[in-house]
């Protein structure tokens, strides 16, 4: 009998597998396919204060072992999420969910998180300071250590639940941002958001994505994600959540060896809607194969 449980900021997860924000909606649609209570938790669709349609289409491009998206934080806004999405989720999910929050000003993050903090179903905040697809006034909080810290400390002051800073890899030194977020009060760091990428259609000679560029994800980016998790684990004391191309139980274990306490699965859900369930089902046998009896004991084991 193997033990897959991990502790994420004081909340025990049955396993470290977490569908990543933007690939799992608000969960209830996946609940039509399988019992989503098998998940460690999941990070819901990036929510902003106001509702957003997002970017023009086409928003999707295919790459070798991956994809580019330029959705642009389409969501019903925090009030729609609290009034419609979370009650639907509550009918099918008995665990704490991770609230993924995006914003364009520090005040927006504060207002959005303050409203969500009152929702019992929410266990953690994952603060998205790393979406490559929205640039309000040229501000990209996640690429500047001081701006990143400002958002995290502001949110930390107004919420009671653990705050996770979700970082972008599109920086020179991700550990600098991670350390700034930890010092600002982040209870955990999650990484990596997508890599800025693009494709060009040879027939039209134009970018495939309407917004020209978008976020590159999928198995192709896993080595980059793994490297970033490994680096950040060395520099911070708070837990690290690893993500980027994870598609199998082996990938989960590899990410944990690099330093991840929990592991998010993103693009894989879009190719195989049962990906997270399959990974969770495969975990025990994969652990046995690599002589792991207690998953939490391997965190950072590669260091």
């Amino acid at each position: 009998m193997v033990n897959t449980k991990v502790d994420l900021c004081g909340i025990e997860l049955d396993n470290p597998v977490i569908p990543a924000s933007g690939t799992f909606g608000f969960g209830y649609e996946f609940a039509e396919l399988y019992d989503i209570n098998c998940l460690g938790t999941f990070s819901f669709k990036g929510t902003t204060l106001e509702s957003r349609f997002g970017n023009p289409t086409p928003r999707i491009a295919e790459c070798t072992s991956g994809m580019i998206n330029s959705v642009g934080l389409q969501n019903p806004g925090v009030h729609g999420v609290i009034e419609h999405e979370l009650p639907e989720l509550k009918k099918v999910f008995g665990k704490k969910v991770m609230a993924n929050v995006g914003g364009f000003t520090v005040d927006e993050y504060i207002e959005c998180c303050t409203l969500l903090d009152k929702v019992d179903l929410i266990g953690w905040f994952e603060i998205n300071i790393s979406c490559p697809n929205v640039h309000a006034g040229g501000v990209n909080f996640g690429t500047d250590a001081k701006n990143a810290a400002d958002v995290i400390s502001a949110v930390r002051k107004v919420v009671s639940k653990p705050v996770i800073a979700k970082l972008t890899p599109n920086v020179t030194d991700i550990t600098e941002i991670a350390v700034a977020c930890e010092e600002a009060g982040a209870d955990a760091i999650s990484l990596i958001n997508t890599l800025l990428g693009m494709r060009i259609d040879l027939k039209t000679r134009k970018p495939v994505i309407a917004n020209k560029m978008g976020g590159f994800s999928g198995p192709a980016i896993m080595p980059v994600a793994l490297r970033a998790v490994y680096q950040v684990y060395d520099k911070v004391k708070v837990p690290v959540i690893g993500m980027g191309g994870v598609s199998s139980a082996k990938d989960v274990i590899e990410m944990m060896l690099a330093g991840a306490t929990a592991v998010e699965v993103g693009a894989a859900n879009l190719v195989n809607p049962f990906a997270c369930r399959d990974i969770i089902n495969d975990l025990p046998a994969t652990m046995e194969k690599y002589n792991i009896s207690n998953l939490s004991e391997i965190i950072g084991g590669a260091h």
Binding site: T57, P58, R59, I60, V71, Q74, L270
Partner: protein, 243 residues
């Protein structure tokens, strides 16, 4: 929606670029004509969404055009090979709204989903008229299928080599119909929107990530709010579309 491994029992060329594939497996998730399937193609990361031509208890038939790497690989699949397919995606056409004399208008590779619709309308005692638009004679496919289903079938070709010379809208002008259903390219849709009378449904195409409503990659704005072409569509009602 169901996911399963399907067996290719036929994969035949209909024209220079259009193929018909019959897949054997669970079809219980198909509930309406106009739905689509999403196939895994080896070497391609994302699945390929293809509309359903027809289905029965054990097989689903798709007709697809080779437009890129994924569909090119599909065209090489041999009988007996296996494919990972998500089946029963999208809303499909609303058969109940047809009235007695519905008009079905298809352009090019937009034609296939109209066949399953046509068959079901005929089975319900309706008298559908079908307009199939092509560029030229050697691109014509599926005409016999619609005739065999019992529909009055009109062909238009841009070069006039077969049937009425011109576009599908040139064949619509003097027709009397109770409701219309259409699938095809956007320029055709815009022309139909100017020509058509009364209520109808348009089946849209968009670049998709997942095909089942998770990624928000194929969203569009409608008069009834934001919709995902893959999950809330691909069929939209005429009155909700923002042109």
């Amino acid at each position: 929606m169901t996911q399963g491994i399907y067996k290719v029992i036929k994969n035949e060329k209909l024209t220079e670029t259009v193929y018909r594939m019959v897949l054997e497996g669970d079809t219980s998730a198909l509930t309406a004509p106009g739905q689509f399937v999403n196939l895994t193609v080896e070497g391609c990361y994302l699945r390929r969404p293809i509309s359903v031509f027809d289905w029965d208890d054990t097989t689903v038939t798709i007709i697809y055009k080779v437009v890129g790497e994924g569909t090119e690989k599909m065209s090489e699949w041999k009988d007996g090979s296996k494919a990972d397919v998500l089946v029963g995606l999208g809303n499909g056409f609303d058969v109940a709204k047809s009235g007695d004399k519905p008009l079905l208008i298809g352009g090019g590779v937009g034609i296939p989903p109209l066949y399953g619709l046509c068959k079901r309308l005929v089975a319900e005692g309706k008298k559908p008229t079908v307009i199939l638009g092509f560029n030229k004679a050697d691109e014509i496919f599926c005409k016999e299928d619609f005739l065999a289903a019992g529909a009055e079938t009109i062909i238009t070709t841009v070069d006039g080599s077969v049937g009425i010379k011109g576009f599908v809208t040139d064949a619509m002008k003097n027709l009397d119909y109770t409701y219309f259903y259409t699938c095809g390219p956007m320029p055709m849709f815009r022309a139909i929107e100017k020509t058509a009378q009364g209520g109808g449904e348009y089946s849209f195409e968009e670049r998709m990530g997942c095909g089942f409503g998770a990624c928000m990659g194929c969203s569009c704005k409608t008069k009834y709010g934001n919709k995902r072409i893959c999950k809330d569509g691909p069929v939209l009602q005429r009155e909700e579309i923002i042109w």
